[in-house]
Subunit: 273 residues, 4 copies
Amino acid sequence: MAYSGGSIRLQDLLFEPKDNLIDQSMSSRSAETPTNGDGFGVGWYGKWERPGLFHSIRPAWNDSNLRDLAANIESPLFMAHVRATSLSTVQETNCHPFRYNHWLFVHNGEIFEIEKFRRNLLMAVDPKYFENILGSTDSELMFHLALSFGLEQNPIEGMARMVGFVESTGKKHGVPESMWMTVGLSDGKTLWAFRYASDGNAPTLFHSREVSELIGINPAIQDRLSANTRVVVSEPIGKFRDMWAEVPQGSSITIKDGSIEHHSFQAMTIQSV
Amino acid sequence: MAYSGGSIRLQDLLFEPKDNLIDQSMSSRSAETPTNGDGFGVGWYGKWERPGLFHSIRPAWNDSNLRDLAANIESPLFMAHVRATSLSTVQETNCHPFRYNHWLFVHNGEIFEIEKFRRNLLMAVDPKYFENILGSTDSELMFHLALSFGLEQNPIEGMARMVGFVESTGKKHGVPESMWMTVGLSDGKTLWAFRYASDGNAPTLFHSREVSELIGINPAIQDRLSANTRVVVSEPIGKFRDMWAEVPQGSSITIKDGSIEHHSFQAMTIQSV
Amino acid sequence: MAYSGGSIRLQDLLFEPKDNLIDQSMSSRSAETPTNGDGFGVGWYGKWERPGLFHSIRPAWNDSNLRDLAANIESPLFMAHVRATSLSTVQETNCHPFRYNHWLFVHNGEIFEIEKFRRNLLMAVDPKYFENILGSTDSELMFHLALSFGLEQNPIEGMARMVGFVESTGKKHGVPESMWMTVGLSDGKTLWAFRYASDGNAPTLFHSREVSELIGINPAIQDRLSANTRVVVSEPIGKFRDMWAEVPQGSSITIKDGSIEHHSFQAMTIQSV
Amino acid sequence: MAYSGGSIRLQDLLFEPKDNLIDQSMSSRSAETPTNGDGFGVGWYGKWERPGLFHSIRPAWNDSNLRDLAANIESPLFMAHVRATSLSTVQETNCHPFRYNHWLFVHNGEIFEIEKFRRNLLMAVDPKYFENILGSTDSELMFHLALSFGLEQNPIEGMARMVGFVESTGKKHGVPESMWMTVGLSDGKTLWAFRYASDGNAPTLFHSREVSELIGINPAIQDRLSANTRVVVSEPIGKFRDMWAEVPQGSSITIKDGSIEHHSFQAMTIQSV
């Protein structure tokens, strides 16, 4: 989940979304949202140079540090992430978001059979970024490959090159369709989201419609959201499904000041190593 | 889950139950057994004075300490427990089993609205046992009340008095039907299990049938289980449901050397404080 | 450590105190300040109703959640605490500060041989405050006894009654001199600190002098601290020992808007139970 | 610390060493052994295929899982390790011992300025061993480099090649003297220990003398240790310093069935990458 809009307390979206845009928290223990014990994280932009990070390997609903932080932090742009079925160790350094300077990155999905070529991917990370890798997930590695392929200069192209490189390296090691992802990315001003899979069947991704439309659907949110609010989620949550628009397979969106641009997103061919 | 029988490695029941008595681990991530991030614990009897305990607030399937312990510990009598929906803090001192000397205790269920009379229950714990309370769960408090009411001398009567006391104290504070429980209890030789609720609607409880019967149902388990093996579980797990017999509401079972005795179980009236 | 003054980022005092008022962090790994693995906590007042809390059982110097929180939280009044030799379990619910509504409480020291009369102390906690006890420390119990004895109406008298009650209960159980403490307490506006021991030999306690005096001692701090800044610490830290004034045995101080009042502090006799 | 001898409960050496060979536990909170919150680990050989591991980021003296495990595990060969000042993240995957199949590895010391050439070292790890790297320490990387250089076939030569490779890679990146280590290594039958530093000034390392000699020094240990017992430690602990013999700089020892062989240990030149 990623939020961009007027400055709000994190808890307004994470813990108190009743009758709000999201009326059922991603971190709640509802029957519909199966609980998840593999790690939680939130990254937020404040008034200082670097975004803040909070990572936890405890259930989000029962982490009192998280609750107090969410009650005391306001931010106009933040991302939260719940880790699902993953083979990597459950430890804080494996929790999303990952950070490099003012960049934040979250990922759902996986690189299939990465154990066959993780070392090759790691060797392609630019030495400049290498020491910023703290954990052992495929997600963090994807981020640092994208950085190595120019994400800071051109986020969408950096991501496209990363995907192309992972796919070609995977093929070389006998994995024909290795990439399966939705990704959230931000530099603190713009929010990008990507939906892509090698086999065309990526996890779902949704963005909220314009606030003026949302109020028509659910008048209760009036006065709660600034006009430029946009939220990106993995699944349409809450009882007002019409609030959400699906991001198509093989595409990316760029959110800034409430406006959304859509782009087709494809892998760029990169020679594997 | 509680095991009594020939000495086996814990992992044989916790992590490798394929085509075995239990062919689907309580700790597995199956769709049928919703995962649980609120704490895991195992207690086992070995060759020394006190049973061993391992408590973890991480998902059991991803705790490498637990996996190594389960691979290296053999025991003829052990209990494992996964905490579900509970309001108490997620911390190791709130994980089951609870221990007093050579006694182990696990509980599913809850004392309804205990926040209205927890203090009264706590004040009824005998000073002799008071300092053995390490956490803040209703379960641990139930155990220490039962100890205070004579569990060490007569386990079933101690439990019955505890239930009676909780119910009468609850009533006094406006909670007409406060007890909802299944409980496993052992002194290292005998295994007791209890199923009781004030409203007659306790959580489910099952015990495995005689090993000779089990082999008729699932020949694959031959040579894997000693003749005196008995397993107690909250739900009939695995594909061979006939292996399991339900423990009736308002009853207890006493397992020793593979034999099972059934008793009716009722609250004994105790004056509340 | 407790800070009262102009709003500053927590890290300015916790992690970056070079050439500052405190030029050696309590959380640093210096040889003089032996490291401590028994738990860390910080509580801060922000712009919302309740103070925030962060508790950790990891070393403060290596907790990345803490570092990010300290970089992103500003506060005009906060307390930090490092747990030292204690017999209680190392868990977050045992970390200071303890909180009740808008009150925060930290404690150094211990109640001697409390295991002989903890139950008696616990029974004296008013039911109104009882469910706010989350952990198992003597410190948290002291706070809730003081609340039960009127701390919210009169902080110093509530503390004095609490001390008297602990001492008389201790004596009844064969502990002639049971109390050993320094305590920090706040309601978000005023900061109180107490130094007291039954045997007259409490842990040390210091407060910083007036900022105008501090600048004379260490000109480097000019422009870094607001005129009404006061810091309370257990030990005079940093190279400028003259910056600190010792709080005498058997006394308390009351800090508000930079001014300090001194009071004698004595136990008030309360009948034990 | 590493133990080789008759099968003993881990706690006999870790928690109850009074008047024993080691009368002051490495995990104790004594003034002489500064406490350490950066991680604890123990690895032991039992009767099964793989050694067991227990890793903890909590203080050893306050980890109840460790105490119960140590009370219930017997082993004729085990290693325990306390992490000291290290820059790597405090997480369980960074705790020693590290394991590959039946091999265990512990390390004190560090590779100086490894951040300048970590990536180059990592690229030299054989793909066969690469996926066994779970954490981010220099120690684990040293182990996997030694494996890549033939440790399984010839432990001492594998270690010597690893050291040579690290030193030559370090030099290439401007670090003239990069290696500083004592290492413990075992395959479950033999115990090796190494003391080496590029500048000839490695951390200290000691081994216990023959049990017959030990009894002369401290008669209290008679009947407690089998005749073939040998213990290796970083510092001579306990009041009987004569029990310990120092391992010289630039040497290794090989312990099997109570006998000790001494070897000179030098780096073997390997081309850096």
